[in-house]
Symmetry: C2
C-alpha cells in the first residue's frame, strides 16, 4: 500500500478551486495557495470547497494560505493552476523552498511552460533537480460560482502530460495514476507544448469577434455562435503553421480537428462542425470584454513561443504574426517583447537535436558527455 | 450659356443607378452602361430611374446598354461607378473608344485608381491623352431597392476630386460645377488615393466582426454596433500607417476622425464616438456574408496599393499587412498578388519627386525636359 499523496494547489481561480476541491473530495490532503489572501478569505473561513455540476460533493482543505513556503511544505505534488502569465512569478517564489523529491505540475503549461519554469528554478537554485511536469490542457472545465463553490462542467477523458526530463515520465505517471488516471504520458514537453490548443481556440475567435464581445458584453456562445466557417479558416491556418513548427522539432502532432475527436469524441466534416459537436463547449459563453486571458495568457504564452521557435528554426508563420500583432494593438502591449521566447525556455542557441536531448534526459550533451 | 453636359454612367449597381438617376432627374442626358444586360433589363424596359429617400423624383435615361462604345459616344463625362476591382476590365474596354476631350471620373478610385486607369489606356491606346479624374469617395450613400428604384440615404457635402494630371483640375471643376458643386479640387490623385477612407472603414470592422456577420447573416448595425473601442483601435493603427505613407509622398493627410468632421460634421472625443455620431451611418447594416466588396474591393484596391507603396518607399506597415493576410485567408485569395500595386499604377522605379511631377503635369521629366 502506498502512502496517501499530499498536494499543494497553487492558484485559487476557477481551475485551482476545481482541482483543490476535487482532490480534497477524493480524500487527499490539500493545501491551497493564492497570492492575494483577499481572494481566498471565504474559502479560509469555510475550510471547504463545494463541487456542483457533473461532480457533486464536498472537500475539506488542510490549509488555505498566501505563504508559498507553507503551502508546499512536505507535499508530494505541487499543482500549479494559474494563467501561464503567472508562471514566471511563481517559479521565482517557489525556487527557494521546493525540494528535489517534489513534482511541480503545470495545469496546463501552455507553450514552453515547463521549460521556462525549470530554467527559472535552475537560475535561482542551481543545485535542485526538480521534476517539472507539463499538462497539455486543463483536466476540468469548471467555473467558481463563488469563493469555495465550483461548478464542474466536464472532465476530459484523457490529458497528455510530460515530465521534464521525459525519462521521469514513468515514475510520475505511476505515482499519480491512483489520483488522475486521465493523465497519459506524452513523448516530451515538446509534445504537450506544441499541441497546446489554447493557442488556437482562445485568441482567434476572441479577436475575430471582438466587435461583438464589446457590443454585447460577450452575450453569445463562444464556440457555437462565435466560431463560424471563416473564423475556423483562420484557426486552421494557425493550426497549420503550429504543426510546421512542431514537425520541425520532431514532435508528433495532432490537428485541432483530430484533437477534438481524441479528447471529446467530437467529429464533423469540417473543423467548424466538429467544434459545434463538442458537447463540453455548448454552454461556454464568450468573455465579457477584451481584457481576457484568452488574449493576455494565450498570446504571450502560447502564440509568441510558437512564433519565436519558428524564428529560431527559420520557419515563416505569417498568420500567427498577424494575430500577435493585432492582439498587441488591442491590449496596448508588445506581446512579441513580453511573451515567452526561446531564450526564456533556456533553449537559445540549441539545435533541434540538442533541444530534443534536453527535453528527454535533461542534458544538452550527448551520451558521450560532450557538451554541445 | 454653356451647352448642357452629356453623361455616360458605367455600372448599374447601387451607386451607378443612384448617380444615373440623379443626373437624369436633374435633366442631363444620361447613357447607362452595364456589362451584363440581365442586370439592367427592367431599367431598359422602364427607361427611368425612380429616386426615393432624401431625394425624391424620376429621371428618364437616354440609353440603357451593354455596349460600352455606344454608351460613351459623344458624351462629355464618363462616370465610372463600379467596385474598383472592375476598373482594369473597364479601362481596357473603354480604351479604343474614348476621345481626348472626354473626362473619365472614377467614383471613387480607391487607391491608385486613376493612375492604373491611365496606365491601361496608355498601353492600349498610346496616342490618347485622356483626363482621368479620381473622386475620393462616393458622393451618395444609396441602395437600389430594385432595378430602376434607388433609395438615397445621404449626399456628402463635399467630395475631393483630382484630375490626372492635376494641371487639368480647374478646367474639370469649372465644367462640372453646375452639376456637382460638391466636387472640390484636391492637390493631386495622390491626395484622393491616400485619403481613401474605405481602406479603413470597410475591411477592418468586417474582419473583426466576421464571426457575427456569418452567425447573424449581418443582422447588426455595421458602424453603430460593429465598431467598438477595440475595433476602432485597429482602425486607428491602420490610419496611422496610411498617413505615414501619405506623408512620405508629400500628401496632405486628414485622419479618419478629421475626415468625419470635415465630411459629415460628425465629432467625438474618440474615433469610435465620432463614428457613432455620423448620422449617415446610422441605418447601415453589416454585409450579410463575407463575400462582400468591403473585402474583395477594399483589400486589393485600397490596402494593397498602400502596402505596396509603403514597400516602394521603405516604410513598415505591419497592421495593414495583418489585415491583408487575414483577408487573403478568408477569401482563399492572394490579395498581395492580385491587388493593385505600384507597377500597375505605372510608377515602378520612380522617386517621390518623379511621382509628384507625374501626378501634377503628367510627365516624369522635370521642367527642363530631362527624362528621369
Amino acid at each position: 500500500m502506498f502512502k496517501k499523496l499530499k498536494f499543494a494547489v497553487i492558484g485559487a481561480g476557477h481551475g485551482g478551486q476545481g482541482i483543490a476541491g476535487y482532490l480534497a473530495y477524493k480524500g487527499y490532503e490539500v493545501n491551497l495557495y493564492n497570492r492575494s489572501i483577499e481572494k481566498i478569505k471565504k474559502i479560509k473561513q469555510r475550510g471547504t470547497i463545494e463541487l456542483v455540476g457533473s461532480i457533486v460533493g464536498f472537500g475539506r482543505l488542510n490549509l488555505v494560505t498566501n505563504s508559498i513556503e507553507q503551502a508546499i511544505k512536505n507535499v508530494d505534488v505541487i499543482m500549479v493552476v494559474l494563467p501561464a502569465s503567472a508562471h514566471k512569478f511563481i517559479a521565482k517564489h517557489i525556487a527557494p523552498f521546493v525540494t528535489p523529491e517534489q513534482y511541480i505540475v503545470l495545469n496546463p503549461g501552455r507553450t514552453g511552460g515547463a521549460l521556462e519554469f525549470k530554467s527559472i528554478i535552475a537560475r535561482h537554485n542551481p543545485l535542485k533537480e526538480v521534476c517539472i511536469v507539463e499538462a497539455q490542457t486543463m483536466l476540468f472545465a469548471c467555473r467558481a460560482l463563488e469563493q469555495g463553490k465550483v461548478k464542474i462542467f466536464s472532465k476530459k477523458e484523457e490529458v497528455k502530460v510530460a515530465a521534464l526530463p521525459a525519462i521521469r515520465n514513468n515514475e510520475f505517471i505511476n505515482m499519480i495514476h491512483e489520483v488522475f488516471p486521465e493523465f497519459m504520458p506524452a513523448t516530451s514537453v515538446l509534445e504537450t507544448s506544441f499541441n497546446n490548443v489554447g493557442a488556437l481556440l482562445h485568441p482567434i475567435p476572441t479577436i475575430l469577434n471582438c466587435g461583438r464581445i464589446e457590443n454585447t458584453k460577450g452575450n453569445f456562445k463562444y464556440y457555437i455562435e462565435g466560431v463560424t466557417p471563416s473564423v475556423a479558416k483562420i484557426i486552421e491556418q494557425v493550426d497549420y503553421e503550429r504543426m510546421l513548427v512542431a514537425k520541425a522539432l520532431g514532435v508528433k502532432t495532432m490537428s485541432l480537428k483530430e484533437w477534438l475527436a481524441y479528447t471529446y469524441n467530437a467529429y464533423g466534416n469540417t473543423l467548424c462542425e466538429a467544434l459545434k459537436n463538442t458537447k463540453g463547449y455548448w454552454g461556454i459563453m464568450a468573455p465579457t470584454n477584451l481584457d481576457t486571458r484568452y488574449i493576455y495568457e494565450d498570446v504571450p504564452q502560447s502564440l509568441v513561443p510558437i512564433w519565436d521557435m519558428a524564428m529560431h528554426l527559420g520557419i515563416q508563420t505569417p498568420t500567427i504574426d498577424s494575430i500577435i500583432h493585432l492582439a498587441s494593438i488591442l491590449h496596448n502591449a508588445d506581446y512579441y517583447k513580453s511573451g515567452r521566447k526561446v531564450i526564456d525556455m533556456g533553449l537559445e542557441g540549441l539545435s533541434v537535436e540538442e533541444i530534443r536531448r534536453f527535453v528527454i534526459n535533461g542534458q544538452v550533451s550527448d551520451s558521450r558527455g560532450v557538451v554541445a
